[in-house]
Amino acid sequence: MKEIIDVTNLNFSWGNNHVLKDLNLNLKENELVSIIGINGAGKSTLLKCLNRILKPDSGEISIFGEELSDVDLIELSKHISYVPQSIRSNFSMDVFDVVLLGRRPHIQWMIAGEDREKVSKTLRYLNLEEFAFRRFDQLSGGERQRVIIAKAVAQDPAVYLFDEPTSDLDLKNQIEIMKRIKELISVPESPKSALIAIHDINIAARFSDRILLLHEGRIIADGTPQEVLTTKNIAEVFNVTSEIVNMHPNYIRIIIKDEINEKKTNRTVIL
């Protein structure tokens, strides 16, 4: 498989807090890769470095062999679409127009018929057609999250960067959205890939081709879900005991049991 993104010795700090330390990774065509780790591990920071929202302290990032910082921002947005966890806005638009913003890198000023068609198809594909002419600010958190994902899909990039794409979704929509993402990157004629920062390790286990385990600024495990999601790795990173269950032929399930070494403090429950 051809490489789309290659990251070498990436370092990033927030002040004195060294978040990413000599990090290396690559992303290949038709690959869905999940990044897991505790809060503050640097998952979102990594995604933002890959989309030039944040500027790394050092290291190299290349996309299709070209240095990321050399690529024009409009061109970059044709290659990469970043989906934040949520967006807050003081203004509003119809959902159709928000998704249409995904066509911004492809158009000059006027909207072409094919751009409208692309938005319509995307809305239908993600079961959002009933929301097309509702105001974005009047949607629920989960509905808004699906609209932002639709905007990224309409952008038609080679790489999707998702930051917690299922965090606001109900159980059915979590599965639904992940299936759609998986479908999108599995079309051989249209080679795409997705890098997803996610907390739900069962969703990661089910849909990922590869999982990166990020801990203390470094990737400490990189491989298939079966290789990375071991009770040992989970205990080391998340400080919890777990059990791996092979109840499905294609993917594993992880049952989280309890905290390891829970701090014994004289806590008082305040009601």
Binding site: I53, I80, P84, I107, G113
Partner: protein, 347 residues
Amino acid sequence: MDSISEKHIENGKTQFLMVLILGIITVFLSLFAMGQGSSSNLDMMSTINIILGLEAATELQSDIIWKLRFPRILMAIIGGAALAVAGSLMQGCLGNPLVSPLTLGVASGAALGAAFAIVLGVSVLPYSNLAIVANAFFFSLIVVAIIIQLGSLRSISAESYILVGIAITFISGAVVSTMQYFATDAQLSQLAHWSFGSLSRPDLIQVLAISIAVLGLMPTAMKWSWDLNALSIGGDEFAISTGVNPAETRRNMLILSAFMTSVVIAFTGLIGFVGLAAPHMSRLIIGNDYRKLIPCSAIFGAFLMVFADTLGRTLFAPIVIPVGIMLSIIGGPFFMYLLLANRGGKK
């Protein structure tokens, strides 16, 4: 074409029609306004006929139309349009609905310049009848220069721009207050009159020059519509992922809107409300798509300004109430009604 695309096109046509109707109303209101005034028996039809060359005008009628009423109405249209567009650009690029063209301190700079000219007699164009205007414009350009410098700083946020604008407003206000403290009664009166905001000051040549500057800047504003859409709806990170450079967009739009504001208020004095209200009223009609919002704001701004000025000239004629005051008195309650009605204030 599928049904969703068709509906989107239909919605666009409906919005275009609404903006067109507002434009036509504004044109008729302007023609009506041209026929209003106590100084002559020029009614609306005679005025239109004289403007179109269908009726011969006496020298007095010609002077009233071309030296008094036409420059005033054109100034109302252009001034209203410029301040409304400036307000919409600033609200969008700063992601803040509370922002108006006065927020960045441009108007305070202009007021400071006017105070220097009126109280101290210090002007960049001394001994000229344009001494106050030139000084107001020069000082507001200093504020524009500060904005340009701010824009060159790395990672300057939207909030920083607003806070610097507030600081400039306080500093300018303090200096103006100090000058007022030592000013004579006549100077105080002149300064207060300047700050009311009036459309009667610029002559036809000046209004035409302002029109050329404002109309020349409008296409530049329109060019940035998509960037403003992304920035106003999703903020910086969302904008970057859409191929928009938020810092560059913000800097360019603030310079553009500050310059538009300077050009107008140097001649008219302080007119604030239209720049805040017209963009919001326009959003209620056509939403937040800047490709439509910019022209709609321009037309709504022109409408509000002509309406307020006409009311100010006719309500207590022959006394003329300055447009800045009228705008706030009639526009304020109307604006509050529209916002509350749209947000479903009922429990």
